[in-house]
Amino acid sequence: MNTTYLPSDFLPIVVQLGLALAFIVGTMIVTHLIGPSRKSSLKDDPFECGIEVKGNARTPISVKYFLVAILFVLFDVEVIFMYPWAVNFRQLGMLGFIEMLLFMALLLAGFYYIIRKGVLKWEE
């Protein structure tokens, strides 16, 4: 594995980002230019299955989504910690493995708690 790097090694990512962005912007502009454009009040109406739209689009969603998102962030952070360990897996050996196991045990204790409390039960 190549251990030294320069910021310019990240250039491909930037190029890819630029390409993705250019594709979206390009298609939007091109479709705007080459497509016929007719405007009428009927066509600009928001439309859903032939029924007129009522109320605000921003209705409150259930708190469950939020809870799942919080749990996702927490486990996300825990997983991030595993990355530097995994890169050095061989070098750290058994001791490192046990240390990681301890960390994972804390994680799993939290996970077990969540399951037992029924936080992840969706239909309730």
Binding site: L106, A109, Y112, Y113, R116
Partner: protein, 464 residues
């Protein structure tokens, strides 16, 4: 070091004990675990200064003594939590678990040798406090307090982290010894980045111990949180926080005392002034206690500003006296507030104490002793706490600060005595309040400690 490991594991155990059908085991189990942690704390006693975990965590007799104060306070507070069993909504397993985890954080910031340890510790302590503040989910004021505390605390954490980053940028070290090494060089004493880092870190820390002008969250949060957790916050967080600030200043920045002492002196005087003067205008006993905790932060800051050889001992003694008196005051408050509840909400005004002494002489006595101790009247531990703090300021020659402090103590006597007068002199019908035996033991123990150390403060010196 041992209590950190033990409390981490036992916190999870308590959490899982909550899955059992019977909740009765939780309280004795938590008390047992706290006692175990306290016992394990003294394994390192008299082993001399030790460094654990690659020099990240230090253990001396004095940090062990701070740990002991924190753990004993937690023990007394947890022993007063019998009320959880009456409450349908309460989830004692979570509360006890979070309390044990928060003690891990407290112990870490008492003995940190490395700023990362300090940061993780104070985050555990703070996050636990945000949760406990909002634990009364049906109460809007508790929700408000929790949100306010969380938002302001998050900003304080950000400021603190920025300070740590600047310190690292200036010194190239996270460890206290490394920073001290840099400060003692000629370049270090002149580094502006170091100054900025120190000030930002201090602002974050002073926020956590609610020193003015970073105190604005304190009254609302202390008032909104359930009383039992207010007790926890005002004793344990404060004790650990001051131990942490002392550690930072004495171990790393004693070399540039001339730089930070003016800032700290201004903050001290402001804290004393705000805490004591605003406390006079409160109608609620609980809110008064919130301002009183600000004023006590001011007294503790005097010791820090002086930074003599005696400072650590005086902070230790003062926080012990303050914690014990606060616990017994809140213990009595919780009983009375529950007895006299209005519309199902605890009544925490001064009026609730009217005529307390007639039917409940013991409670009135406990309350009086704790108020005397908080006010710093002789023959209580609080007097000697103030005495040690003031004498260390006198050693440093901070006479003008002493004048302010003595004046403010006089103001303190006024508002502490209001509740004593209410309970002895005013008419009111408090029925006989039934006190659970456990609860009674806590109150009596706290009172005995206050009087014991008030009569023989030298006893405390011999313990160390």
């Amino acid at each position: 070091m041992y209590p950190i490991i033990l409390l981490s594991v036992l916190g999870i155990v308590v959490l899982f004990l909550g899955f059992m059908k019977s909740k009765n085991i939780l309280l004795p189990a938590t008390l047992l675990f706290l006692a175990l942690a306290l016992g394990s704390n003294f394994i390192d006693w008299n082993q001399g200064p030790l460094l654990y975990f690659y020099g990240m965590f230090s253990v001396t007799n004095l940090t062990l003594a701070f740990n002991a104060i924190v753990l004993i306070s937690a023990f007394l507070i947890v022993a007063m939590t019998r009320g959880f069993q009456d409450d349908e909504e309460a989830q004692p397993a979570e509360y006890y678990g979070i309390m044990l985890f928060s003690l891990v954080g407290a112990i870490m910031i008492i003995g940190y040798e490395h700023l990362i340890i300090f940061f993780v510790g104070i985050e555990i302590l703070s996050v636990a406090m945000y949760i406990l503040t909002g634990s009364d989910k049906r109460n809007l004021r508790s929700n408000e307090a929790s949100l306010k505390y969380f938002l302001m605390g998050a900003f304080a954490t950000g400021i603190m982290l920025f300070g740590i980053a600047l310190l690292y940028g200036a010194t190239g070290a996270f460890s206290l010894t490394g920073i001290r090494g840099f400060v003692s060089t000629a370049a270090g004493a002149q580094s502006y980045i170091l100054y900025a880092g120190l000030l930002l870190l201090l602002i974050g820390m002073l926020f956590k111990v609610s020193a003015a002008p970073f105190h604005f969250w304190t009254p609302d949060v202390y008032d909104g949180a359930p009383s039992i957790f207010t007790t926890f916050m005002s004793t344990i967080v404060k004790t650990a926080g001051f131990a942490a600030i002392f550690r930072l200043l004495s171990h790393s920045f004693a070399g540039i005392y001339d730089f930070w002492y003016i800032t700290l002196a201004v903050i001290t005087v402001l804290t004393l002034f705000v805490g004591n003067v605003v406390a006079v205008y409160q109608d609620s006993f609980k809110r008064m206690m919130a301002y009183s905790s600000i004023s006590h932060a001011g007294y503790l800051l005097i010791a820090l500003t002086a930074l003599t050889a005696q400072t650590e001992r005086s902070i230790l003694f003062y926080s012990m006296a303050y914690s014990v008196a606060t616990i017994s005051a809140f213990g009595v408050l919780m009983l009375i507030a529950k007895e006299k509840s209005l519309d199902g909400r605890p009544n925490e005004s001064y009026d609730a104490f009217n005529g307390l002494a007639k039917q409940n002489p013991l409670l009135a006595f406990v309350l009086t002793v704790s108020m005397l101790s908080l006010a710093g009247i002789p023959l209580t531990a609080g007097f000697w706490g103030k005495f040690f703090v003031f004498s260390s300021a006198a050693d440093r020659g901070l006479i003008w600060m002493l004048v302010v402090a003595v004046l403010m103590s006089a103001v303190g006597i006024y508002y502490y005595f209001r509740v004593v007068i209410a309970s002895y002199m005013k008419e009111g019908n408090t029925g006989k309040i039934r006190v659970a035996p456990f609860y009674q033991i806590v109150l009596v123990a706290a009172t005995v400690i206050t009087i014991l150390f008030g009569l023989a403060p030298g006893f405390f010196e011999q313990l160390l």
